[in-house]
Structure formats: structure tokens, C-alpha cells
């Protein structure tokens, strides 16, 4: 049986510092984060798009409920969730893709 040599504490500290530094490099990808000034507060654009997508989906659902067609919609949870996500993406692509 061979005994494992203990890893020196200094080496471990260097590895940890390197890992934290490498993770910090990935943050450079977040430099494009559009936000909107609403009444003095800056809201991230994705949040506004999500709200717009959600409200549009609620509007579509209300129309379908009022007309009585909602009961023929298949897989309601998945379909409405998919609609909300699609509309969120569309809002993002229209307003913030550039």
C-alpha cells in the first residue's frame, strides 16, 4: 500500500486563487446587459421582456377564455408557458437585440 503525500497548503491556495481568477474572466461576457430607467430605477431588460411576455400571454388567455375556445387548447400549462417564453424572446429581439 502506498501512502498519499499531503498536498501543501500553499499549492492549494494557489489553485484556489487561480480558479477564482478564471471564474472572474467569464464575467467579461456579461458586459452587454441593457437596462431601462423606470422612475429613476434601472431595471434589467430581460426582466421587462419577461413581464411583457407574461402580460401578452395573459391577454391571449383572457381572449380565449372570453370566447370559450380555451377549453380546446391542448396541454394548457406547456402551451401557455411556451407562448410566454416565445413572446419574451420576441420582445427581446425587437427591442434589445442590437
Amino acid at each position: 500500500m502506498t501512502m498519499r503525500q499531503p498536498v501543501p497548503a500553499g499549492f492549494r491556495r494557489i489553485v484556489r486563487l487561480f480558479a477564482v481568477g478564471a471564474a472572474g474572466l467569464a464575467v467579461a461576457g456579461c458586459n452587454h446587459s441593457p437596462s431601462q430607467d423606470i422612475l429613476g430605477s434601472f431595471f434589467p431588460a430581460w426582466m421587462l421582456c419577461a413581464v411583457a411576455g407574461l402580460l401578452s400571454t395573459l391577454g391571449v388567455r383572457q381572449i380565449l377564455l372570453r370566447t370559450g375556445v380555451d377549453r380546446f387548447v391542448p396541454l394548457k400549462l406547456i402551451v401557455y408557458f411556451g407562448l410566454a417564453v416565445s413572446l419574451t424572446f420576441i420582445c427581446w429581439l425587437i427591442w434589445f437585440s442590437n
Binding site: 370566447t67 375556445v69 380546446f72 387548447v73 391542448p74 396541454l75 406547456i78 416565445s86
Partner: protein, 208 residues
């Protein structure tokens, strides 16, 4: 009998044979869902090889779809549950859109894929609901040709092999949305007519 289309006529003897061998509807429904989700998974990268395999898997999905319903009928498990079909169809189109993000459509392909799946499902279900009330303008012409609406799904396999998925997405999202809107509008009008006829009827609930 569930249907009288060409695909039903082909599937029926096979269903009897498989039922005799002890193959259950649930096994085939599971296979159909797995093949559909696997086809969707193959389309995710958007590479020609992935599309090719996705097309082959999707081709296997359509007969399996018919077969499991026929076996359910033969073995006395009359099922009208289409959860498996709808989930696989939605996953297939969402994956198609994600896979086409590097095509001419760009990243817009992702929401287009999801919307085309939703539009197609809605147009199928609205047309089926319409058919129960009167002749559907989608299903009736197909029936005359001996086809069911979900037989059309087989078309997406050769389109995947030919790598025409971006064009397919555009046609599906436009066509599916128009058919869903028209069918939904006709359903609404018919239900309003039924409601009016009920309220105008001299034999109202209170008069009986």
C-alpha cells in the same frame, strides 16, 4: 373503429398481429414518445447529420402513433388521450427552431420554432373540435383524400433530410397561426350560435 384513412387501414392488421404477440399500447406509446423526443434531440445541433437522423426518427414516430391507438382499440382500451403526440410534436418544433439558430433565420428561429409547434397543435385541436360540430375546412378535404390531419406530420421527415427546416419553420408558423385563428374564430361563432339557440328555445330549464 377509430378512423377510416389509409394509415388506419395499414395499421389495423399490424395492430392485431402485435396485440396477438402480447405487445401493449402503453409500450408503443412509450416508444413513440421516446422516438419523438430523440428526433427532437437530434435536431438541436442543427447539423446536416443531426437533421438526417432526426428525420428518420420522426418517420418512425408517425406509424407508431397510429399503431398504439389501434392496439388500444383492439385490446379494448379506447384511448383518446393525445398527450404523448402533442408533447413530442411540441418538442420537435421547439428543437427545430433551436437547431436553426445559425440559419438565415438567426436567433429569431428559437421563438419561431416554439410558436410554430404551438400553432400547429392549436390548429389540430381546434379543427378536431370544429369537426365534431360541423365540417372542418381542414379535416374534411383531407378525409376525402383518405388522410387524417396528423398524417401530414410525416412530411417533416423528408424536409429534415433535405435541410429545408428554416423554410419549413416559416411556412409552419404562418400556416399554423392562420389555420388556428380561423378555426378558433369559427369555433367561437358556432358556440355563440349554440348558446343563442339554447337561450331562445321555448323549453328552457325553468319551463320544463
Amino acid at each position: 373503429m377509430i378512423g377510416s384513412t389509409w394509415s388506419h387501414a395499414v395499421a389495423r392488421p399490424m395492430a392485431r398481429l402485435l396485440a396477438g404477440l402480447g405487445v401493449g399500447a402503453n409500450l408503443l406509446a412509450g416508444l413513440r414518445l421516446s422516438a419523438g423526443l430523440l428526433a427532437a434531440f437530434c435536431l438541436l445541433p442543427g447539423t446536416p447529420a443531426g437533421n438526417h437522423w432526426g428525420g428518420w426518427l420522426w418517420l418512425s414516430v408517425v406509424p407508431l402513433n397510429r399503431l398504439y391507438k389501434e392496439i388500444a382499440q383492439v385490446t379494448g382500451l379506447a384511448t383518446t388521450d393525445s398527450f404523448v403526440d402533442e408533447l413530442a410534436c411540441l418538442a420537435f418544433f421547439a428543437a427545430m427552431g433551436f437547431g436553426q439558430r445559425h440559419s438565415i433565420l438567426g436567433v429569431e428561429a428559437i421563438p419561431i420554432g416554439m410558436l410554430s409547434g404551438i400553432a400547429l397543435l392549436m390548429s389540430f385541436d381546434f379543427s378536431a373540435a370544429l369537426r365534431q360540430r360541423q365540417k372542418s375546412f381542414v379535416i374534411a378535404p383531407l378525409r376525402r383524400l383518405g388522410l387524417a390531419a396528423d398524417d401530414l406530420l410525416v412530411v417533416f421527415a423528408p424536409l429534415a433530410w433535405l435541410d429545408w427546416l428554416a423554410q419549413t419553420l416559416i411556412v409552419t408558423v404562418l400556416g399554423g397561426t392562420i389555420i388556428a385563428l380561423l378555426s378558433g374564430w369559427r369555433l367561437w361563432r358556432l358556440m355563440a350560435q349554440e348558446h343563442r339557440a339554447e337561450s331562445d328555445s321555448p323549453l328552457k330549464k325553468g319551463d320544463r
